[in-house]
Amino acid sequence: MDQNLPAKETPTPGKSFFSVLTESMDRMVRALLNIKDKLFTRTPNATQTQSIVSASGISTRTKTIVTALAAVFFILIIAVFVVSYLKGRILKPEEEVKEGEKAVTTIVERKASRYATDEAVLKMEADTKVLEEEINKGDIEEKSLTPPTLNFDVNFQE
């Protein structure tokens, strides 16, 4: 009676966890063996084998599947890189803006003195700015006026 029981029996609530695990593993192994048989079975006809299965024993179908999987994997890796790069680029300016806001707040915190609008102070500020521009613009070296290179080797002897 026990021998006639089907191999794929559904686990009853009374069965232990280990027996259920063993059964499911057994099923998986059987399924994998089944797939292997389908993929790697050599046909008796030699000419047919050459056209469908290569010398290494891998069928064209398998090759296609593996290539497709590799392509998908490759695309995924590129996508991960692109996403991480874009994320970094988007985040950076946000940080800069935050720093700028901080700087502005520190300036705002200082209160202007009564000399902020003083005519003499404003004139000095303007003069300093003009001078700074002139300093940055000007080069003290007169590159265009270096002495000319002239030929003084005038003779008619060989």
């Binding site: 200082r110 902020a116 102070v121 300093t128 007169e142 003084f152 008619f156």
Partner: protein
Amino acid sequence: MKRANTRVKCNGMRFLPLSIVFFLFFLVSPAYAQTPGSEEFNFQRAYADYIFNFDIYRKANLDYELYRSQYLQFKTLKSQENAYNATLAMLKARDSTVETYLTAVRKKLDETPGADGAKKEVLFAKIDQEVTWHIDHSDSLPSAGTLDDLVGDSKKAEGRFKADIPLFYETLVGTSGGKVIYVRERQEAILASLKQKIAEIKVNGDKDTQLLERWILDTEEKITRSREKEAEAYEIITKLGSGTSISSSYNQALFKLKEAYQYLKEANSFLAEIITEIKFED
């Protein structure tokens, strides 16, 4: 009554020539006043002249090299004549190049604000002397003579040019130094006003001026260091030797002036900071 009228007429006639002279003077003077303005001889013009003459010289020198080699190869009368003419043209162009170069350098120094007046005058006197020499030398070159005559004339010009090299560099350092002096003088003017303002603030008691006074001292120190570097540059240039060391001495002097300029740059940013500090409360 008639007599009186004729007397008035006579008096009026007496002023007629004078009024004509005045009329002509006012008519002519605006036109005359425009002439120097439109043809003003400034550095730009002098520099353009120099470049133009230098180009002519370069071409003349190429011709000289060509006809010289032809003469040395063939030794014919024709090749000798060609070599003579080419050499004469080259010597004249060379003199003009030196003359216009000296004029350009002189104009640059003249137009540089800040250049020391006394030093300028000394350099101008030397430059004018050299310009005159090169003009005279060019005029004295014989239109007909031997190749040996031209060789002798060339040697004279060579000696003069070599003796002029320190003058060239001295003038260039004077120009660069003038730029440094100009910036420093303007900074010192701002600094003087700033010190006055800080003294005023101190009297008013509006603000603690201790920090400002300390910063003023720091700025003054930068200006003093700039002066020191400038003095070192002039010391190098006054000790100019001869030969290849001249250009290296010039480069050293120029480096010192650049350092002096850098100190002034820093002093200027200090001034800007002090002014900003004054504008805000403690």
